[in-house]
């Protein structure tokens, strides 16, 4: 192996430039592979997480009783079940499967049977629902594996295609660098190297390059992938998840080592294949052939060439050069062509796709009417049951000021007196009429209004039957009218009931026909003004059961120019939500507005976002390919010149001038660029015109029934921009040409620095006699840089933490004492040796608890001592790697307090989840706890089925949660959270208005270290600990005061919303809902939930024994800062009473 090693390393060193090019090619290829594989796993993760966050279950079953719910959650295959009470006193089960359950319908039937709820299986509408997307992604249920396989196959085919393109890059690099050496391999063979040895030398060299190139390639690939992920997220994907609470966690960027391995292996295999190919080609020749076959054999010589004619001597030499390196020429032109074509076509095609989707939406709604304005929403408006007419609804829409162009239409059906057939009449308002027929309709809208007449649609299929009468100008019809009976209570009736309570009557009428119109695709025979409907509505129908349709768009902003506006959109959605309560408007699927077919704005936006993402991705890919093509081009051009070094020198010796030489080089580049440009242009033309004509044929053939206009419209939609792609081709060919010229000229200049004889004599290979260790040095440099970066970040993070801590200390909050293995910060305030030692225990993630309670402390501290120990990882207490169980935390608190010199008994004042610590404390050490004041505590549910925990909420599995926590902790550990603060959190900081600037600054200092190991342990153990506490809690004699922030009336809700509004405004953000309406809606929704919660709270209070319950109107997170007076006086009273 020794001499192979020797040769390989010498060649790498001697041909530095080429080695670098080969390395860069491998790096580029591996980087692209890595990027693709990493992005695949990232997008699968993101997809799964988003599906999960949308609906974190595979199956929902409604209509269960409590026992049935609990029973069904313990059936086989179920990983996690959640139960929820509904207002109608049944229970809904949300189920996540852990393993495949086989045929799912059989499974659910059996499961329901077992819990005695078999009827649910047959009930209609269905009482259970499968979440297909998540099931597919998790590989659970029929065909799910197939789904995953399908996705993987699609990806795989794509990856293979790309991989082959990359193979070409590596191949070229090897081809180019080995050409010159073919002679040396011939010599080696002639002195007795066996074919295997030759192949081994070449592959060995390849592997040496791999060792350098692949790690860099992987690294570069990850960077690219991250960049692309970032671009994609920024380009619109994240907008799709507007309002999703954990958008950041749901779209994680994680690198799967398996994927890196695959990319590396593919890279190595490609290098091996390329090297092997070169080796095989060489050993097919006899040594003498190899020795004589220099890189450049001209087989036949054409006396006259085009470029010779055009450019004289320089031209004919240049064209001969191209001929003798046919393969090289072909490869260069090919790579250039591929990247130029992709660049030219992709962006045009995505634009076309977006245009046609937008056009499709338009066409669906406006029947291909060119003059129709773009619409953003379509809604059903009015509610006859509640006596709200569509006119009122339209007025409400108008009054909101958010929308314009409100086109309204409603339908009525008559029967023909002649043939008893149905006649549909459509009543439209002015906007809709203009949108349908333009401004120059044969009959003006005003005429329709003033006469109460109609126009008929000659394209309607019913037209023939009634043609004769319609021509005559009047159409006798009869209609079935309904009158509601007096005793009907419309408030609580659905449509069917109303029909039952109506009385029917046939009435004959004569409709006044004014003229004709031509409408495509419409079944309405008659069009009338909406005023007519209003007028005759009451007269004929007694009461109208029909609602109207409204189509309208945003006022002032149009989605036409793709400027989507999140604020407007949110306003609109809030408005719809608020008004659907009163049934002004009805979205078809209010739970998922983005899937609502009436929400065209949402659809268009979503399409736009996805396409923008695709475009960004394609652009990145394009960039990489262009880079690869450029590397190839430069490699080939510079190698071409270097190899012909002595030859060019000979030319100069016989009198060629520098200028002629330059010209020759430039003509060579022109050949490359020109050939590539021409081929790309041809390919573009074929694709563009081919695709267009195929689409046109499809349209022509499959829409035979449509009118010419419609077809033209459709063709217009799929039209592809003809000019831009070709301009792009020209532009990129020009760029390639320029790059090539610059390289050639630079190469020629540098070569000409040596004397001509030197150039003639020496081959390109120059070897420094001193030994260098490129491989070792570059690896050391990379490793060193990595370690330095890590160390630098860590130092930064520690320094920043200490600076924060000093600031905190200056404010007088720092008092570090030993706890179990870490330094605990025990802040105390109030009276020195007060009546009571009140110990405040922070709730989950409440890092700045002692700062936030300042007002309360002032009120309580007059006679009492207040102590705030921060548990591990909170505030400025040290971090701890111990599992943060309730027991551990309580022991830490006790140790900290003791070491800080505060002796029991204590009055514990826990917030939120800390109530469990306090209760545990009083159960274990009753003597140490004088009383407990619970600030809106956490109530352990009766079983884990009845609650969702922080980690479960956001992550499909415990492993995913753990991985995410590790990442967050690492992020904090390296200080990345400080350097790149997360801006995705959209909401306002709660209660910002309540605190002074100084307090806000201090609480920011505390939160700077947000995500510590101890905190993440708390989150991960939350479920286990809460469930466990729920099991062991028992009544104690310790007196307890329980503050609850549950709403007690609608006024509380309104106040909460007002507070939220104040928070938003304090930060200069806009708050779009009207508190009044929002509160009414909210209260309606939560009223029964609150009843439920109250009874749970009472149960809990009962369970812990000796309690007093008090309601405080405030927000759970900071109510102690919102209502300090009320809380303080209650506490003081309570302490006075209970500890006499």
């Amino acid at each position: 192996m020794k001499y192979e090693n020797l040769l390989a390393s010498r060649y790498i060193k001697a041909q530095k430039r080429q080695s670098v090019f080969t390395c860069v090619s491998i790096i580029a290829a591996v980087a692209v592979m890595t990027m693709i594989f990493v992005l695949y796993s990232v997008s699968m993760d993101c997809l799964e997480n988003t599906c999960y966050s949308r609906a974190p279950y595979h199956l929902t079953v409604t209509g269960l009783t409590e026992q049935q719910g609990e029973a069904i959650c313990s059936t086989d295959h179920i990983k996690r079940g959640k139960l929820e009470r509904t207002p109608d006193n049944t229970v809904t089960a949300y189920i996540l499967f852990g393993s495949d359950m086989g045929d799912r319908e059989i499974w659910i039937q059996k499961a329901l049977q077992n819990v005695g709820a078999e009827h649910l299986f047959y009930d209609l509408p269905k009482k259970y629902e499968w979440n297909n997307t998540l099931m597919n992604l998790d590989g659970i249920g029929d065909g799910a594996q197939l789904f995953r396989l399908r996705i993987f196959c699609i990806f795989f085919i794509f990856a293979i295609l790309i991989a082959f393109a990359l193979r070409m890059i590596i191949d070229t690099a090897f081809e180019v660098s080995s050409k010159e050496r073919e002679r040396h391999y011939g010599v080696l063979q002639s002195i007795g190297a066996t074919p295997e040895q030759i192949v081994r030398i070449i592959t060995y060299e390849g592997f040496r390059l791999c060792v350098i190139a692949i790690p860099f390639g992987l690294f570069a690939g990850i960077c690219f992938a991250y960049l692309m992920y970032h671009v994609m997220v920024a380009s619109g994907i994240s907008e799709l998840f507007q309002g999703m609470s954990n958008a950041k966690l749901a779209l994680p960027f994680s690198v799967d080592p398996k994927m890196l391995l695959v990319a590396a292996v593919v890279g190595i295999v490609w290098v091996f294949l390329s090297a092997y190919g070169v080796g095989m080609r060489i050993i097919k020749k006899t040594p003498m052939e190899a020795i004589n076959a220099r890189a450049n054999n001209v087989e036949k010589i054409k006396k006259r060439t085009l470029s010779g004619l055009l450019f004289g001597v320089s031209g004919s030499i240049a064209s001969r050069n191209a001929r003798r390196e046919k393969k090289r020429f072909a490869i260069t032109v090919l790579t250039l062509t591929v990247s130029i074509t992709m660049f030219a076509l992709f962006s045009s095609l995505t634009e076309t796709a977006e245009r046609s989707i937008n056009g499709y939406i338009k066409a669906e709604v406006y029947e291909f009417n060119e003059e129709a304005a773009d619409i953003d929403f379509e809604l059903e408006i009015g509610n006859p049951q509640k006596g709200i007419s569509y006119a009122e609804a339209v007025k409400a829409i108008q009054d909101s000021g958010l929308f314009e162009n409100i086109a309204v239409d409603t339908f009525e059906s008559f029967h023909s007196t002649e043939n008893k057939g149905n006649i549909y009449a459509r009543y439209v308002n002015r906007e809709a009429y203009t949108q349908l027929f333009g401004r120059n309709a044969a009959v003006s809208y005003d005429e329709l209004v003033s006469t109460g007449g109609y126009v008929y649609n000659i394209n309607c299929k019913d037209y023939e039957q009634n043609a004769e009468q319609l021509q005559r100008g009047s159409l006798p019809v009869f209609s079935i009218c309904m009158h509601l009976r007096e005793d009907a209570d419309t408030e609580n009736m659905d449509y069917i009931d109303l029909l039952k309570y109506a009385e029917y009557e046939e009435k004959e009428q004569t409709l006044n026909i004014l003229g004709s119109v031509s409408m495509k695709n419409e079944y309405d025979l008659l069009i009338g003004a909406i005023e007519t409907h209003e007028k005759i509505g009451a007269e004929w129908f007694g009461m109208s059961f029909g609602t109207a349709n409204a189509k309208f768009c945003f006022a002032g902003s149009s989605a036409e120019d793709y400027q989507y506006n999140a604020a407007d959109y949110k306003k609109a959605k809030d408005w719809f939500e608020a008004h659907s309560e009163f049934d002004f408007v009805r979205m078809l699927n209010p739970d998922e507005p983005e899937n609502n077919y009436g929400d065209f704005y949402g659809i268009k936006w979503k399409t736009h976002s996805i396409l923008a993402t695709v475009r960004a991705g394609v652009l990145m890919l394009n960039l990489l390919l262009a880079l690869a093509a450029l590397i190839n081009l430069l490699n080939i051009i510079s190698t071409g010149i270097a190899n012909r070094r002595s030859e060019l020198a000979s030319l100069q010796c016989v009198g060629m001038t520098d200028r002629q030489l330059d010209r020759m080089a430039i003509i060579e580049c022109l050949q490359f660029a020109g050939a590539a440009a021409i081929i790309s242009a041809v390919i573009c033309a074929v694709i563009i015109f081919g695709a267009e004509s195929v689409l046109n044929t499809i349209i022509r053939d499959s829409f035979v029934d449509e009118s010419e206009g419609t077809k033209k419209m459709l063709m217009n939609l799929v039209r592809i921009d003809h000019i831009t792609p070709f301009m792009r081709v020209g532009f990129s060919a020009l760029a390639a040409f320029a790059a090539g010229c610059i390289t050639s000229l630079v190469m020629l200049r540098t070569q000409n620095r040596d004397s001509l004889t030197d150039q003639i004599r020496g081959s390109e290979m120059k070897l420094d006699t001193e030994k260098s260790h490129i491989l070792r040095n570059s690896i050391l440099a990379a490793a060193g840089a990595f370690i330095l970066a890590i160390a630098g970040l860590r130092i930064y993070s520690v320094a920043a933490y200490h600076r924060d801590r000093n600031e905190y200390a200056k404010a007088g909050y720092l008092n570090l004492v030993d706890a179990n293995g870490f330094k605990m910060n025990v802040y105390s305030t109030g009276a020195e040796h007060g009546k009571h030692t009140i110990v405040g225990l922070a709730g989950q993630a409440s890092y700045a608890f002692p700062v936030e309670t300042t007002k309360l402390n002032e009120l309580l501290g007059k006679e009492n001592t207040l102590v705030y120990p921060d548990c591990a990882g909170y505030g400025f207490s040290g971090d701890s790697l111990k599992p943060q169980t309730v027991e551990q935390i309580v022991e830490d608190y006790r140790a900290g307090l003791k070491n800080a010199g505060f002796e029991a008994p204590y009055v514990l004042m826990p917030h939120s989840i800390a109530d469990l610590y306090a209760l545990y404390w009083s159960m274990q050490y009753p003597d140490e706890v004088e009383a407990i004041i619970i600030l809106d505590g956490t109530i352990p549910p009766k079983s884990e089925l009845w609650q969702t925990y922080t980690a479960e909420e956001a992550f499909p599995s415990d492993e995913a949660a753990q991985a995410a926590m590790h990442k967050l902790v690492l992020r904090t550990w390296l200080g990345l959270n400080r350097l790149f603060p997360d801006k995705s959190e959209g909401g306002a900081t709660q209660g910002a208005a309540l605190f002074t600037d100084e307090q806000l600054r201090l609480s920011k200092l505390c939160n700077n270290r947000f995500w510590t190991a101890a905190f993440s342990s708390q989150i991960l153990l939350e479920k286990q600990e809460v469930t466990h506490m729920g099991e062991i809690l028992c009544p104690t004699d310790t007196p307890k005061l329980y503050f609850s922030t549950l709403y007690t009336c609608e006024e509380d809700v309104r106040a909460a919303i007002e507070r939220m509004k104040a928070d938003f405004e304090a930060e200069g953000k806009e708050f779009n809902s009207d508190p009044e309406t929002a509160a009414r809606a909210e209260w309606k929704q939560v009223e029964w939930e609150i009843e439920q919660a109250k009874s749970e709270e009472n149960d809990f209070a009962e369970k812990i024994g000796n309690y007093r319950l008090e309601y405080v109107a405030g927000d759970h997170g900071i109510f102690y800062a919102q209502k300090p007076e009320q809380i303080a006086s209650s506490i003081l009273d309570f302490l006075a009473e209970t500890t006499e």
């Binding site: 020797l6 001697a14 040396h184 002639s190 007795g192 020795i291 081959s763």
Partner: protein, 236 residues
């Protein structure tokens, strides 16, 4: 006892109009230990013939036997081993590996054979060729004559049975060429090596046992060299 036998050897380059019969039906045999000179006008096919004997080029037709074995019956691998162990070829245009130093170039065949070069032997050969000072230089840092000497060193280093030299003294001064010829003659005598030398130098041809004259790819004369036999006898 004949070591090398060439039978009706032909080599044709090109096709049709461009066809060149570089070697045209050459037959001869060389007994072990003979020193043969091949002379002839430029372009008469000497180098082509030598390359085929050295198994670095395939004949168009005809056969070559070494030690009774048909050389081109062997497969590529065996051919490579044959080249490595049986013959030492000195090229007209040196054909050194440009990235290896003189010493590395000389020892390369042995390294490829998986053997360790004997340092003493190497020193001796470098000394003989006058390359002691140049042993760590690359080919591009050496003069034409020095490069030629390196290629001679590479051919004789492993003491093969047959040495094929294509104008080995073409770039050397008379003193140096005399030394090289002396070297050849010594190893011819001591190791019973068979040596075939192509030369334009009559002096050198005179020192060989036998002189083959080539013209247009054919042997036109093949005679024993009386003067050389005389000289040998005198030496004894």
């Amino acid at each position: 006892m004949e070591l090398l036998k060439v039978e009706n050897l032909c080599k044709v380059y090109g096709k049709g109009e461009n066809e060149v019969k570089a070697v045209d039906g050459v037959s001869f045999s060389v007994p072990k230990g003979q020193m043969v000179a091949i002379v002839g006008a430029s372009g008469s096919g000497k180098s082509t013939l030598l390359h085929m004997i050295g198994a670095v080029d395939r004949p168009t037709s005809g056969k070559i036997y070494l030690d009774g074995q048909d050389v081109f019956q062997q497969n590529n691998r065996e051919l490579a081993i044959f080249r490595r162990r049986q013959v030492g070829l000195i090229y007209q245009f040196y054909n050194l590996i440009p990235v290896l130093t003189a010493e590395e170039n000389i020892t390369l065949p042995l390294l490829m054979d998986g053997r360790k070069p004997d340092r003493e032997h190497l020193e001796k050969i470098l000394d003989m060729l006058g390359l002691k000072e140049r042993k760590d230089h690359l080919p591009s840092q050496m003069s034409g004559g020095q490069q030629q000497r390196v290629s001679i060193g590479r051919a004789i280093f492993s003491s093969p049975q047959v040495i094929l030299a294509d104008e080995p003294t073409g770039n050397l001064d008379s003193k140096n060429s005399a030394e090289i010829m002396e070297l050849f003659r010594r190893s011819n005598k001591e190791l019973k090596q068979t040596i075939i030398i192509i030369t334009h130098d009559e002096n050198i041809a005179e020192q060989c046992d036998r002189i083959l004259v080539l013209s247009d790819g054919k042997i036109i004369s093949d005679e024993a060299n009386a003067a050389a036999e005389e000289a040998d006898r005198n030496e004894i």
